[in-house]
Symmetry: C2
Subunit: 490 residues, 2 copies
């Protein structure tokens, strides 16, 4: 595996200590493997557009009229990450999860829209492919959002089976007019040109088929199906000889609204709070299925959001928090999201590490847990680092103290330890930067350039080496898309 | 006791149900009294300018470089209030705590400054006086902030003993120059005219005396003394025949900084985060003393902040949160503060009610616990309601669904259930209001006047009856002050 330069340097500095931790971790994993006769199961639950202050154990939830008892309990029994970075929007975060790579390396920098010619290139190696190759049973349920073409879809990226949609919140989909007035005046025409497919299902060895059309009403009940599909998959494989990997990408929170059964059921009674409690319930159902099957000691469950809350469309339908910025930004509000890992017996309960964790790290961590790490290709940079040690040894054991945050194709911000430097506009021919101490000031309110001279001083080597590596391993170049980027400009 | 009109109405509506709750509560209290041979001890710990997102269990703490394990534990073992309203600033909140009355009724609308002729009038009846009259041993430790004159001070308001300061953050005190440049250019002159007294001590039956001068350095170690004084008082009275009441008003968070022992000890390493972990430690020490003495079943400990965080002076020294506004505002950021009640055996652990609670409510609640409620005078309005039922029966049992929030002498906002109406500027001769649904929108970002027509519709009766009662029980008129209000205008 080819790591980014910053990680290689950390590896050198911490060689001995990390080696010790690796052997403890290996021992612990070997014990669980021996006891259960297989490698651990892995469940990813990805939430859509849920921000920091939406979740009770992050200070929101009930306070906003949307109690989240199941996520709170998951955190109390597991590890709640206080510094978890996703990517700024849906597609990039999904690229990060699938490939362990900063999305820009794969050519997918931004949110995809129906009709796009871009997608997750067949030569990208996903975690599903890696785990599948070493015997895992794999399933994908939910919003894919990684491209329309056949070769970009789940069956071509390592999944044995699936029940999914390509998109579920494209504003012009389903002929819905609500978004027309203020956002996409071309939407009706666009909808005809690029029809959105409905729910697609595929089973091992069978051809995928569209099993149901979507509508603004139907999509509201979609998450219930997803939960049932995931629970069914878990049940079918709990006792099998091989471990399983399921990637569950929920549609909540979106602007279509909660399942009718959940409408008006939250104390807040808003379109947002109803969806939040519905999503929390579904997470609880999945965890309960794992418990009921008695496989919790052998199953890592990861819950995370894909990006910060979405202000741009339907401010009331989604939410906000005490960070600055939201979905689309590399400010903390856009990328620092709630995330919880749960694995009774392996992860000590009640932990809340401040260690930096990147959404790309799950790729490498899952590969290690599945004993597929050696299969990660080394002809490209993999940014995700193996965080098994943090899961097992607790706070202070993250394998990164840095992160590179891209907004689209450009490096927007770099964090090293507690400092985060944002690239600014050119000013009189000179670059500008703003540095924040995001430990004392997670809201990025007080520019701290007096102590830290932007990208030019403490971040200098970090960025230079990162950029040099890109020269050696250039970004993938994809075919151009007629999608979102061109809606307004074309 | 003369309640406010809104409460009288609720009492009528809920007569039967409340009567039932009262008898359960009486039974529970009688049992504890029988077991311990006395009424419960009461400890108030008041923090200074600590906001919602400063405390770990409210979503801050560790995330801001200031872990608060003791407050988190206190909340986990007790009741964390999610809708606790203090007053917008120091003096008004202290008036509310002492008298159970909206400060404007007592004539004290704003922060007092050294040299003020105003103060807590001798005819105001404090909770210390009430409890003292029925046999409680009473002590005050910390920042008084209720007036300079003899008759305004703790010995004249029901405290047997004390170790205290009149102020501890007056910017011109101690000849400190840091605040001069941007806030009070007259401060040096002012300091000479109105010298700030140092630490004052008084013991039962003895005359109060200034035991030590203050300085910008000395005040940093003051909270350690306060914790020791409080713990010493608790130890002396734990086994006594009479219960005790101690009001501990910490000086943290202020802009003088942490105790040198705590300087640089927080992960954040800021002047704020160091003080926060110092304060958290001190709270932990007091709780531990209660546990060590085995009196926790018979001791209610209340921790609360006096107002929202202070942005105006030294933004970095204090903090911020996801509410709008800060100290001085009737926006949630100014008045909605963290507060925790702890009473093992009487308060069920792990509760986090959304019920509305006013800082004035502790007055009436403590009077009831001390069996001194009948001594509350009925020649004036007491706003605090008895919240024993909420403490004992849990969420949903608050005795208020409304609150009147004054910014100075004017009614600034009224909350009824989830809606809060802010009085706005006059506009073309017409009053304006902004209504927020502070359950789904605690940040007061989305004006909700479409559903609720400001003060004129759902709040109409509430405000009219409140105002009518003021006509019958007029506000106390105090002598004018040469203090803060005049620094800039005089």
């Amino acid at each position: 595996m080819q790591s980014d330069a910053a990680h290689i340097q950390l590896e050198r500095l911490n060689q001995e200590e990390w080696a010790k931790q690796e052997s403890t971790a290996d021992e612990k994993l070997a014990k669980v493997r021996a006891k259960h006769g297989k490698r651990p199961n892995i469940i990813y639950i990805l939430a859509d557009d849920i921000g920091w202050a939406d979740v009770g154990c992050y200070g929101g939830g009930k306070v906003r009229g949307a109690p989240t008892p199941h996520l709170n309990q998951m955190a109390a029994e597991g590890m709640k990450f206080l510094t978890f970075y996703a990517q700024p929007s849906c597609t990039p975060s999904r690229v990060g999860i699938m490939t362990g790579r900063i999305p820009v390396r794969t050519g997918l920098n931004e949110v995809l829209w129906p009709g796009s010619k871009q997608g997750l290139h067949p030569e990208e190696v996903t975690i599903a492919t890696l785990l599948s190759e070493v015997g895992y049973k794999t399933a994908f349920h939910g919003k894919w959002h990684l491209g329309d073409k056949e070769e970009f879809r789940p069956p071509n990226h390592g999944f044995d089976e699936g029940y999914y949609t390509l998109y579920n919140a494209a504003p012009w989909a389903f002929g819905d007019k609500r978004m027309d007035a203020f956002a996409w005046p071309e939407s009706e025409e666009f909808a005809k040109k690029y029809p959105v497919e409905g729910i697609i299902e595929f089973k091992p060895g069978e051809k995928p088929r569209e099993v149901e059309e979507l509508s603004a009403e139907r999509i509201r009940t979609y998450d219930e199906d997803l939960a049932n599909k995931t629970i069914d998959f878990i049940k079918r494989h709990a006792a099998g000889d091989e471990p399983f990997f399921v990637y569950h990408a929920a549609s909540k929170i979106d602007y279509w609204g909660a399942h009718p059964d959940w409408e008006g059921k939250s104390p807040g009674g808003s379109i947002f709070s109803d969806q939040m409690i519905e999503h929390d319930h579904n997470v609880g159902q999945i965890l309960q299925a794992v418990r009921d099957l008695g496989i919790e000691e052998n199953t890592l469950v990861v819950w995370m959001s894909d990006n910060g809350p979405m202000y741009g469309v339907g401010a009331r339908a989604t939410t906000y928090h005490w960070f600055r910025g939201g979905k689309g930004d590399v400010l903390e509000g856009g990328v620092r999201v709630p995330a919880i890992a749960w694995w009774p017996g392996m992860i000590e309960p009640g932990q809340d590490p401040m260690d930096i964790f990147s959404i790309t790290d799950w790729f490498t961590t899952a590969a290690r847990l599945g004993e597929a790490k050696d299969n990660i290709p080394d002809d490209r940079v993999t940014d995700g680092v193996d965080q098994t040690s943090l899961l097992i040894h607790g706070e202070g054991h993250s394998r990164r103290d840095y992160i590179f945050l891209y907004g689209g194709a450009e490096l927007g911000a770099v964090r090293k330890r507690q400092y985060k430097s944002h690239a600014g506009e050119m000013h009189g021919g000179l670059p500008t930067n703003e540095v924040y101490d995001v430990v004392t000031d997670p809201g990025e309110k007080f520019v701290d350039n007096v102590r830290h001279f932007g990208l030019s001083v403490p971040f200098q080597d970090l960025v230079r080496e990162h950029m040099t590596l890109i020269e050696n391993f250039p970004h993938r170049v994809l075919e151009d898309t007629p999608g979102a980027g061109h809606i307004h400009g074309d």
